[in-house]
Symmetry: C2
DNA sequence: GCCTACTTGTTCCACTTGGAACAATATGCT
DNA sequence: AGCATATTGTTCCAAGTGGAACAAGTAGGC
C-alpha cells in the first residue's frame, strides 16, 4: 500500500477532475449501457455490432440500400457490406437488384431477422433500464429532452 | 473506432422510434463528440485510444499500476500493456518496479507526456463544445448533474 | 454519341482489439 | 514450512475495423 492505492477505483472522482467533464460523463454512461449489451448479444446470438445495426435500420425502414445503412449508422461501407453478406446467408435479410439503378441493391428484413431484432432490442432495453433506473421518471424525461436537443444540434454541424 | 456509434445524417424520427430511445440518444451524442475527436488525435499525434486513456489517467493520479489504469478505463490489461510499452518508448511515461510487490510496476507521466495530454485534451474539449454548445449553460449543468447521478448508479451495479 | 466525374458495393490489407494461456510473484491456510 | 489460490504483466492468436483501391454502373456536359 504505497499511495492512495486504488484497490477499488471509483471513477466518479476522476470524472469530476477531467478536462472535458461533460464528454467524459456521456462516454461513461453510454459505455455502461452499450458495451455490456453488445457483449451479451455477441455471446448469445453471435451477432456483431455492424450486423445488429443493419437489422436495426431495416426493422425501421421498409427498404434500404447498403449505402443508406452506412449513412444512417456512420459505419464504413465495407463493414456494412460484410454484415449484409452474413445476414443474407443467415436468412435474416433479403436482397433484390434495383431495376432503376444497376449499382444498388434493395435490402429488406425477413421475419427471422425481425424476430432476432426484437430479442436483441429487449437485451438493449434491459441494459438501458439497469443503468438509468437510478433516475426518476421525470429526470429521465429531462435527460432525454436535453440529449435530443444536443443531438439535433450535432446533426446540423 | 470502438465506440458506440450512430453518426450524423440521421433522420430525426429514427431516434424517436427506436426501442431503446435513451440509449440511442446517449450513443448518438457521445459518438458525435468522441469519434471525430479520437480520429483527429490519431491523425495528428499518432496516438490511439488506449494510449491516450493511459496518459489521461496518469495526468490525474501521481502513480498508477497498469492494472489500476485497466480498472479505471475498463480496457483489458493487454491493451494497457501495449500502450505502456509504446508510451515508454516515446518517453511520455516512466516505469519503476514496486519495491513492495515484485509483480507490479509504478507508472508516472513525464513532462513530455503531460504536454501531449494537454494538447489532446484541448482537442477533446473543443469537440465537446462544438456538440454541446446548442445547450444553454443552465441546461449543460442539468445534463451533467443527471449524467453524474446515472454514472454513480452505474458504477454501483 | 462520347468522355469525364461520380456512386455503389466489394475486396484487400494493415492495424486494433480482447480473450486465453502463461510465468513470476504474492497471499492465505493448515 | 508447504501448497493451493489469486494477482500482475505479458505474449499469442483469432476476430473485427476502416482506409484505399477497384470494377460496374450512372449522370451530366458537350
Amino acid at each position: 500500500m504505497s499511495e492512495p492505492s486504488l484497490s477499488k477505483p471509483l471513477p466518479d472522482d476522476f470524472l469530476q477532475r477531467v478536462e472535458f467533464r461533460d464528454a467524459a460523463l456521456l462516454s461513461f454512461v453510454t459505455s455502461a449501457i452499450i458495451v455490456p449489451a453488445y457483449d451479451e448479444v455477441k455471446r448469445e446470438f453471435g451477432i456483431i455490432r455492424a450486423e445488429y445495426m443493419l437489422l436495426l435500420c431495416l426493422s425501421h425502414y421498409p427498404v434500404l440500400t447498403a449505402q443508406d445503412v452506412s449513412r444512417l449508422t456512420g459505419r464504413p461501407r465495407n463493414s456494412i457490406s460484410r454484415a449484409v453478406h452474413r445476414m443474407l446467408s443467415d436468412g435474416h435479410i433479403e436482397r433484390a437488384p434495383d431495376p432503376d439503378d444497376g449499382r444498388q441493391a434493395r435490402l429488406t428484413i425477413t421475419a427471422s431477422g425481425r424476430a432476432l431484432h426484437d430479442k436483441i432490442a429487449e437485451h438493449m432495453r434491459q441494459r438501458q433500464e439497469a443503468v438509468l433506473s437510478g433516475l426518476h421518471p421525470v429526470e429521465r424525461d429531462t435527460l432525454a429532452a436535453l440529449l435530443e436537443k444536443a443531438a439535433q444540434h450535432a446533426a446540423d454541424l
